[in-house]
């Protein structure tokens, strides 16, 4: 099992002139350390206008800085919003290829379509069409990367023959992924032969069914790219504490803050009835108290020993990599974040470098999946 980190660039109020500056630069320092410690991926989201929740509207710029400061860690666009009215597909391909060059071939290319009215509504995009738009764009981009004369006449964008430049250094192109927050998208990822980038902060049980479906279907996929990327990432939090109480207080508090901020985003399905979004699907699932409680299963917040135990659950449902939010809302002091990463690398990573563990922490099967939050 491998481990990554991801950033939303959340910036909690009250804001000062330096709030965003601090969030960006502390994240870069954390990524440098994560690279040295052996974390293998860093992902950065693309969101627009989401106050406090995410001030990360130009992830390629940020990731270019991260790439320049690091040597080994893979650089994940998590994700590029593949809606032509928000990002022209040729601009997505150009920026991603440039990032692949700057990082010496370390780009992981995540795709998605956005889930909030704040974002989609701002660009005049019809929510009913976002899934189709995404599907068209992800089929075009690998062609832009690999053809000298790319031409497209699609439903959502057209382009006369052009050589889209630069080309990525990875041959034939960077691995492609899609953000998955519903069973339907997991199936669509598998059908298209692209990686499953879990973005629901759920439990291993939540992922169990998704991963099983994904693994079964991708065997007979029709890849949109030049090769199949059959990797599965899950998303979670991480805080490796000095002791259990400190870990719960610091890491658990940051997790609660995430839900509180996310709960105020209006999911598209909440105010725009659409076949493309579930009714009352908020940007991030609004979880019941019971569901929040269940997050403790597999929740990598605690002492190193507790985290090893909890991560074994993820291993058992076939997750290859857990990608963790390490400081939501800058609530955890920067020095504590760095110390948490160091403790994790020193005490937790070696346990997984040895291979699969003996089994579940209590010898019990992982709990059955409840209905998946989207």
């Amino acid at each position: 099992m491998k481990f990554g980190i991801f950033y939303e660039h959340s910036v909690q109020k009250p804001w000062t002139r330096e709030s965003e500056l601090r969030a960006y630069h502390q994240a870069l320092e954390q990524i440098e350390l994560a690279d040295e410690l052996g974390f293998d991926q860093v992902w950065e989201v693309e969101h627009h206008f989401l106050e406090e929740y995410s001030h990360s509207s130009a992830p390629e710029v940020f990731l270019a800085a991260a790439a320049a400061r690091t040597k080994r860690i893979h650089i994940g666009q998590g994700i590029a919003v593949c809606l032509p009215q928000m990002n022209h597909p040729a601009r997505i391909a150009e920026r991603a290829a440039a990032l692949d060059l700057i990082s010496n071939g370390r780009l992981e290319f995540g795709t998605g379509r956005s889930a909030t009215w704040t974002e989609v509504g701002a660009f005049g995009i019809d929510p009913d069409n976002t899934k189709e738009m995404w599907d068209e764009v992800i089929r075009a981009i690998p062609k832009m990367w690999t053809e000298d004369e790319f031409e497209w006449k699609g439903k959502y964008f057209t382009m006369p023959p052009r050589n889209v430049l630069p080309k990525p250094i990875q041959d034939p192109h960077p691995p492609m992924w899609v953000a998955v927050s519903s069973p339907e998208t997991a199936v669509q990822a598998a059908e298209r032969g692209i990686g499953m980038l879990g973005v629901t902060l759920g439990t291993p049980a939540d992922y169990k069914r998704l991963v099983a479906d994904y693994r079964r279907i991708i065997k007979n996929c029709d890849p949109v790219g030049k090769f199949v990327n059959n990797q599965v990432n899950a998303a979670s939090w991480l805080y490796c504490g000095e002791d259990e109480n400190e870990a719960r207080a610091v890491g658990g508090g940051a997790a609660f803050n995430f839900f509180r901020t996310a709960a105020h985003l209006v999911g598209l399905g909440g105010i725009y009835p659409s076949h493309a979004y579930t009714a009352h699907a908020n940007a991030t699932a609004l979880l019941s108290q019971a569901e929040i409680q269940s997050l403790r299963e597999g929740f990598p917040v605690g002492t190193p020993e507790q985290i090893v135990e909890n991560l074994r659950y993820w291993e058992e449902v076939g997750i290859e990599r857990v990608v963790c939010m390490i400081n939501f809302d800058q609530q955890i002091p920067h020095k504590k974040v760095l110390a948490s990463l160091e403790r994790f690398a020193k005490y937790v990573m070696p346990e997984f470098a040895k291979g699969k563990g003996p089994g579940k922490r209590s010898g019990q099967p992982a709990p059955e999946a409840p209905p998946m939050a989207t």
Binding site: Q12, K13, F49, L50, E51, E52, Y53, T116, W117, T118, G121, D126, F259, R260, T261, A263, H264, L265, V266, G270, I271, Y272, P273, S274, H275, A279, H280, N282, L286
Partner: protein, 236 residues
Amino acid sequence: MPDEGLARHEEYRIELPKERPQYPALPWKCANATMINVYFEVRKRPLLERLPPEFCRSSPAYCRLTIIENPDSPGGAFRDAILGLGSRLNMMPAVFVAASITDNPKALAAGIAERSFPSTLGKIEFEAGVSSARALISDSRGPLLEVTLPQLQTIEPSRLAYDHADGILTTPDGGTQLMVVGPDIEITRAAICKNGRIDYPAERADSPWQILDCRNVVSAQVVQGTREFKAGHQPR
């Protein structure tokens, strides 16, 4: 921290009449009700100024405008309209009712006494056909707001779900109490409109119906079904 509401409960206190008008006991079953519902974006500040402190605004700041024609009810035929502020109560989606109007004195009395909405008497023009819908809301001083839905497309009713609507009830002793009125229409037929419009036929700068002016229509629906015009309850 999400922005909390800035309004005091007292701002929603209503002077109750000394003699309470008589009305049939709630709930009223309203068969063949038709509802126009529009979500629209508003500016943050006027919304926060009308939102009680128990609530936080959502992102984006939005309102829900609901206009219902009730051709048949124990209180007689009536139309009512609410202007709801999209918000969060205990991190869950909610709508706080900042203004409401009805054209029926019995519905007005029941609404103030048991549903906690700050109702006034007014006039509501309402037309809803298969392909289009329109409504005009007026109070005693004249027109406030007009909704036009020029092209309707039928959709599956299961694609729609509405949040509860909350209000500040004035209690008989002059106090105030936060109340919740659950979703009250069982939808049997639904349509959406992708080019809905809200217009303001006459300037009424002091009215919440216009202070919370539409900056961008998000979505609009027309639904039909059986409505239960019911009393509110305290938040659980």
